[in-house]
Symmetry: C2
Subunit: 395 residues, 2 copies
């Protein structure tokens, strides 16, 4: 038979990254394209202990249906931790556990946007979130990211132009893919603009704990006295992504609707994963584990920057990120960036063309995204050597 698809899905293509990642399943290809945590960043011994304990002492808890909102002790534990450590959460807020932070984007769009509404996002931004928004037939507007985060003057212009804007999506810390971190002044300004133009903010913070330099900057959600920020957190980068545990702290009225939405999406998040996170936060020094991860990523980030400087030199300009997993490298105007990415894969180094992350169809970029968490140190060195050799073809 001939298949007809919904309008929302017909135009949505598999992400360019996923296509490139298929090349990286070839172990000969050096993976600078993915965003996987480093394998040595997983707390394997602790997970082993906790899993043994769960299946020895409370297997039924891990196997039976759970409630859609998530495992209550874990919800309480995260809420208390985020309040104490980051001043996130007010009396009007509540929390649900989600199947990764990706699901926060999905449920937020589901409950907030009609088709044809407008979502404002940093350009470039995380393609998984952008495609999620697109899958609800919303129209995306992009606001450029500067070294200190979203261009807030441009943001106000867009807010004035778009009365159907429903929310602003931002990754304030070590943004994917730009690596930029939003200054406190801009966070305050962004929040004030959201209040002035009566829109919601989705603050996506998967990398916040991965700071390797500079000073911590308070979350936008910590400023939220009006109840207009949906905060998305994740255990993917500090514990493990395969367990699919994220959460959102947001006004209770929104959480109630997101819970109804989640009930129809996947009923609840895997219970074993939730028990695992809860036991890890309760019984182990997870702050020490995060410090350890920071050390790993500090070393890898510095190594990659050194290699870029020595092997690519003036061929590429970048702003050194203060954390996260990615470095955003602008290539010279005269270089055909897509051709460079294609040749890189042919030379067995996978990188992501920056165009994958652009918000509006007319957005242009000549940048590529490099990831330093997935490759081993030797792969970083070798990969940049290959890219350096390749760059000579464009001079």
């Amino acid at each position: 038979m001939e298949y007809r698809f919904s309008d929302r899905i017909a135009s949505l293509q598999p992400s360019a990254i996923r296509e490139i990642l298929k090349a990286t399943s070839n172990p000969e290809v050096i993976p600078l394209a993915a965003g996987n945590p480093a394998p040595d960043a997983f707390p394997v011994a602790e997970v082993r202990e906790i899993a043994a304990d769960i299946f020895a002492n409370r297997p039924i808890d891990a196997l039976q249906y759970g409630v859609t909102e998530g495992y209550l002790p874990l919800r309480n534990r995260i809420a208390e931790y985020m309040k104490a450590k980051h001043n996130i959460g007010r009396d009007f807020d509540s929390i649900i556990i989600t199947s990764g932070a990706q699901q926060v984007m999905d449920l937020s769009t589901k409950v907030l946007c009609n088709e044809g509404d407008v979502v404002i996002a940093e350009t470039p931004s995380f393609i998984g979130s952008l495609n999620c928004f697109r899958s609800y037939n919303v129209r995306l507007r992009g606001v450029d990211v500067e070294a200190d985060g979203m261009n807030v003057e441009k943001l106000e212009t867009v807010l004035k132009e778009e009365p159907k804007a429903r929310f602003i999506y931002t990754i304030p810390n070590f943004q994917n893919p730009s690596g930029a971190t939003m200054s406190f002044e801009k966070r305050r300004k962004l929040y004030d603009l959201a209040c002035k133009y009566d829109v919601i903010i989705i603050e996506d913070n998967p990398y916040g704990d991965l700071r390797v330099a500079g000073e911590h900057i308070p979350a936008i959600k910590s400023l939220d006295e009006e109840g207009r920020v949906i905060y998305a957190g994740s255990f993917s980068k500090i514990l493990a992504p395969g367990i699919r545990v994220g959460y959102t702290i947001a006004p209770s009225q929104l959480i109630a609707k997101m819970t109804v939405g989640k009930q129809t999406s996947d009923v609840h998040t895997t219970i074993f994963s939730q028990l695992l996170v809860d036991a890890w936060m309760e019984g182990y020094d997870f702050e020490a584990h995060i410090e350890k991860i920071r050390g790993i990523y500090r070393r890898k980030l510095n190594l990659m920057c050194d290699c870029i400087d020595s092997d690519l030199g003036s061929f590429c300009s970048y702003v050194r990120p203060q954390g996260g997993l990615f470095i955003w490298c602008d290539l010279p105007e005269n270089v055909d960036m897509l051709d460079f990415c294609k040749k890189a894969v042919e030379n067995k180094v996978a990188v992501v063309p920056g165009t994958a992350f652009m918000v509006e169809p007319t957005d242009k970029t000549n940048a590529i995204r490099l990831n330093f968490s997935t490759p081993g140190d030797d792969q970083i060195v070798k990969g940049l050597k290959i890219l350096g050799e390749l760059s000579k073809q464009y001079k």
Copy 2:
């Protein structure tokens, strides 16, 4: 601030069952409302062994990101098993792992339906699926379920009336909530009508392995030579629901779009859960386990039917199901069914009013749904005694 919700979610209420289930979190309330597997139906010792092996020998596999389509060995294993055992799957089909079968409904609707399209479902039907369809702003049309399944004459009438019908949703085996099983003749007729009117069929089969009486009837998908059946399977009832592992076997073109949709929903299903199912199917006699579960449910179903017969007698009429988890009890016309359900909870027995499962706003029922898998045997006996006493108030 004042929140505005999308049209799709504004009218969607938390399910009546979930509200009733809140009462059942009180351990004094006898749970005849839920649909949880019996705790003694979980293969706890096997899961314990497998988990220990996974975290001892391949922890990184369980913790790292996976591909959206699902763990390849598991996909291959299920596809081969379903082909060999049930003749499900053709060359044009493929398979993805989903976060429970619920996600099959979500992704199918996402890729097939525009807002305003029509979905046809058995009435009564599973509220989780109905609410999922509703969350895409489709219009639902109901077709009544008879003792041998969907009324196929009525189905053809609806298909004639609704040119925007995109798919027919059916639970052919031990339907939730009616308990009815569709005859082979009706399966064939349903498939022929789908071909004639060029619509898709979603065959949801969570309970198929839980047959306790009568002869196996081939799946609709086994008849599918045109590629118009989306088959939804689940490990929730035969292994455990807390792990959230379902799957769909469907034409590859649909699967490709569903994969793009899943990427934006939750990236991938929990990897540990997928490794667990794969190891269980590979290394253990899971068919023997399913036989054991059938024995448990046969005993519980028979016990509940005996109790209904002796305690409720002519107060309730029902068709004895050949499997599944539910018994659908019609109350006399003069009884206020909602009042009966309310009084039942007050008397510490939770049951679900049949109205929760109706498809169209004008659909009427005077039935209640009883579940026999969640309560212990003593709770079944005691619960029906209480309902029997309560019924005397209505005579």
